[in-house]
């Protein structure tokens, strides 16, 4: 019997939200206590999937930042810098374990608040965040071995400002090494995605970490500026746009504040004709559509060797058909919601510009939800190196595709950008991989894969993608005075 099946579609498979606990209003976590802001102001955090209110978040002002820094300083002077290193490690391990126990709740909240697919929050963001705490907990009492024959001491109070693309993961990247190295922390999450950082504050409270060692304050750009300009902060760690990075760099010039800046990128993903093509297609998709393209190291500039360009583009278009765009909480969603209305407008502006520049547009034909902030996966062919679309960071699911003929040509073009965060190389030839990894000016070069992260592996940029490294031993040294 030959049956004619109608198209087989995946039924909705929504992750349940019944188990998560969220307050209606969140205050600031200062000195181990939930503290009302002296500004008395709150702002709303919404779900980018349906634009509905999730919670109200406190807007910290200068006084609140003062209070947070003061409590961090006191905790540093009286407790944290005096505590034996293995005891410090125990607290960090404890935070990691509680995070792991609450992984499901954290994943659902992350997806709700940021718009990222639950699959990514569940399988990537939250496990990696836990792993960062575990990894750095292990270093806490082994710092002498990490930097043999050097005298090490912590820096003091670290002011940390993180972006909205990987909210909890970025908090982990910042807090875990800072604590392991013996510093205390004032951290500000991004205004659209404060919730998991606030949940982390609850976890820290539960872990019994001494009051003031970690302070989490929420707010907008002005709150961040107060942190950057605070005279009693020893180190600024910032992840975000190159524009803001430059402002920070100016603001701390002439002070003795240390800084690590992890900024924007326009990373090249390079496919050679001998590459395992179908796997390379996955690498392209994973490079640009992972987390809706809200990834600083996204492989947003694709370079394809000209003799396989047609084939690669055909395969890529076919692959894009099976990307499910929609409700981030659906377990089958591959591409979720754009984080905010502002960001969606920026992305749409670039798409419009691309058309105006004469580039050829192709978008996924999938259905897009009417409500919420969504952008279908988008590729532009027929672009030039001088197109603005190729030069500027879009921070959305928008890929530009250029072709190349020779190895030298593609190295030149890949490096011809003010950025230098990451790159991908796809080839079956080992020698070619090594040749390119030494010549590409990028902090990370992936070979036959893309967007892979590990706590033991340092991450950071060249040129205007910032300086300093996070992750691995390099990430520790950014929070230590070495002499």
């Amino acid at each position: 019997m030959t049956s004619k099946n109608k198209n087989w579609e995946y039924s909705p498979s929504l992750e349940s939200t019944g188990h998560i606990k969220l307050k209606k209003k969140y205050d600031l976590f200062i000195n181990g206590k939930w503290t009302k802001s002296s500004s008395k102001k709150y702002f709303k955090t919404i779900n980018p999937n349906d634009e509905k209110l999730i919670a109200e978040i406190s807007h910290a002002n200068q006084n609140d930042v003062d209070l947070a820094v003061k409590s961090a300083r006191k905790a540093y002077d009286t407790v944290w810098s005096k505590m034996p290193a293995n005891e410090r490690g125990k607290y960090i391990y404890r935070i990691a374990r509680i995070m792991q126990e609450r992984a499901k709740e954290l994943a659902v909240i992350e997806s709700l608040d940021s718009g990222k697919p639950i699959r990514e929050a569940r399988d990537i963001d939250i496990p990696l965040a836990c792993n960062h705490f575990f990894y750095y907990a292990g270093w806490a009492d082994k710092l002498d071995y990490a930097f043999p024959n050097r005298k090490i001491s912590p820096l003091g109070v670290a002011g940390q400002i993180i972006p909205w693309n990987f909210p909890l993961l970025m908090a982990a990247w910042k807090i875990a090494p800072a604590l392991a190295a013996g510093n205390t922390v004032v951290l500000k999450p991004a205004e659209t995605t404060s919730l998991t950082a606030l949940k982390l504050a609850e976890i820290i409270e539960e872990s019994g970490l001494p009051a003031g060692v970690v302070n989490i304050i929420t707010g907008h750009g002005d709150t961040g500026a107060s942190i950057v300009n605070h005279p009693d902060i020893n180190k600024i760690a910032f992840t975000g746009s190159t524009g803001v990075g430059k402002i920070i760099q100016k603001a701390i010039a002439g002070t003795d504040k240390k800084a690590t800046l992890e900024l924007g990128g326009k990373s090249a993903n390079i496919i050679f004709d001998d590459a395992p093509l179908d796997q390379a297609i996955e690498g392209i998709v994973n490079g640009i559509f992972f987390n809706q393209g809200h990834v600083c190291c996204a492989g947003s500039r694709l370079f394809v060797q000209e003799n396989i360009a047609d084939k690669v583009i055909r395969k890529l278009k076919h692959r894009m058909k099976s990307l499910v765009v929609g409700n981030p909480l659906d377990k089958n969603t591959d591409v979720g919601a754009i984080n905010s209305k502002d960001q969606l407008q920026i992305i749409n502006k670039y798409i419009k510009l691309g058309k105006k520049e004469g580039a050829e547009l192709y978008q996924s034909t999938c259905s897009i939800p009417k409500k919420g902030f969504f952008c279908p996966p988008t590729i532009f062919t027929n672009v030039a190196q001088s197109s603005i679309l190729v030069q500027e960071e879009i921070f959305g699911p928008v890929l530009t595709i250029q072709t190349f003929r020779t190895v030298d040509e593609v190295i030149q073009k890949a490096n011809n950008t003010p950025y230098g965060l990451a790159a991908g190389v796809w080839t079956d030839k080992g020698a070619r991989i090594f040749n390119l990894t030494t010549k590409l000016k990028a902090g990370v070069v992936w070979a036959n894969t893309y967007n892979k992260f590990d706590p033991a592996s340092p991450f950071g940029g060249y040129k205007e993608s910032g300086f300093g490294r996070e992750g691995g031993m390099h990430g520790l040294s950014a929070y230590l005075k070495l002499s």
Partner: protein
């Protein structure tokens, strides 16, 4: 042009990266198949099964019972499809054919000195001719893995092409026996070879060798089918066989076919499962989806 002469048209097979394949496959396994799509999927799986018995100890009685079950999977639950085909040795083809009659269930016969393929070509041709004359609708041949691994690709190609000529109206499934091919690069090369030599279907395994139809192997073969379709517009079928014994794995295979090839391939004309124990697990799942209760395996017939 005779099929043998097409060997020169065989394109260079692309390389396959195992790590990348594993990553892609894990994404299919993460698709959540619930409610309606689960029920529809399970029924589709039933309808794609080649119910198989390939034992030295097969008896006419066993084949007769299996053929009855192929048409009457679980009569106490109305609305179930039949399986796609029964798969037997050539000596049982006549009997099977007389049992399935006009039910729509096809009779597939293994041939070419199944499962090893260790026989001269004329024996393989005679073997295949006999099965076709007995009324087989489909022929499941094995390739000469020894020759393939020795790099004698044109030999393997010609053999497939000659068997295809003997098949006449019967559709030819070419078994690569991927468990003996060692690498995914080899699986891809053998897939391309079989397709260009005239296979109507490519099939992973005989079921006699482990590992059999892993999703990594099936993925690699599906991509060969995809590329051939993109080049020529001709559809080729796929049959993972061996090792797919539960519903979940079968559904993940359907997800893979849907996303790699498209809904056109989601019929038993283009996709089959070679399995002996899968049908009952699917039946148990279907009844559970309907009644909310898992029933004991005693409620499901073994043949």
């Amino acid at each position: 042009m005779k099929n043998q002469n097409k060997f020169n048209l065989l394109p260079l097979s692309p390389t396959v990266d195992k790590v990348g394949v594993e990553e892609r496959v894990s994404r299919f396994q993460k698709r959540s198949i619930k409610t309606n799509s689960k029920m529809d999927g399970l029924k589709m799986v039933l309808n794609m099964i080649d119910l198989t018995t390939l034992e030295g100890k097969d008896t006419p009685g066993k084949v007769r019972q299996m053929c009855y079950k192929a048409i009457h999977l679980h009569d106490s639950f109305p609305g179930l499809p039949t399986v796609a085909a029964v798969c037997v040795y050539p000596s049982m083809v006549g009997l099977a054919k007389s049992m399935v009659k006009d039910s729509g269930v096809k009779v597939a016969s293994v041939s070419t000195a199944f499962p090893s393929g260790q026989a001269p070509l004329d024996v393989k041709i005679t073997d295949t001719k006999y099965a076709v004359e007995q009324g087989a609708d489909e022929i499941d041949m094995v390739i000469s893995r020894g020759k393939f691994l020795a790099g004698e690709y044109s030999f393997v190609f010609d053999e497939i092409a000659q068997i295809k000529e003997v098949c006449g109206e019967a559709r030819l499934k070419v078994i690569l026996e991927t468990g003996e091919l060692a690498t995914l690069d080899n699986v891809r090369k053998a897939s391309d070879l079989a397709i260009y030599a005239g296979a109507d279907f490519i099939k992973t395994s005989t079921g006699k060798i482990q590992p059999a139809a892993t999703m990594q192997v099936t993925y690699t073969m599906l991509m060969a089918i995809r590329d051939y379709y993109d080049e020529t517009g001709i559809m080729v079928g796929m049959k993972p066989a061996g090792g797919i014994s539960n519903s979940k794995l079968a559904l993940h295979n359907l997800v893979m076919v849907k996303e790699l090839l498209g809904d056109e391939w989601l019929t038993n004309e283009w996709f089959r499962f070679g399995a002996s124990s899968l049908a009952n697990d699917v039946l148990m799942q279907i009844l559970k989806t309907d009644t909310g209760k898992y029933q004991s395996s005693d409620y499901f017939t073994i043949d």
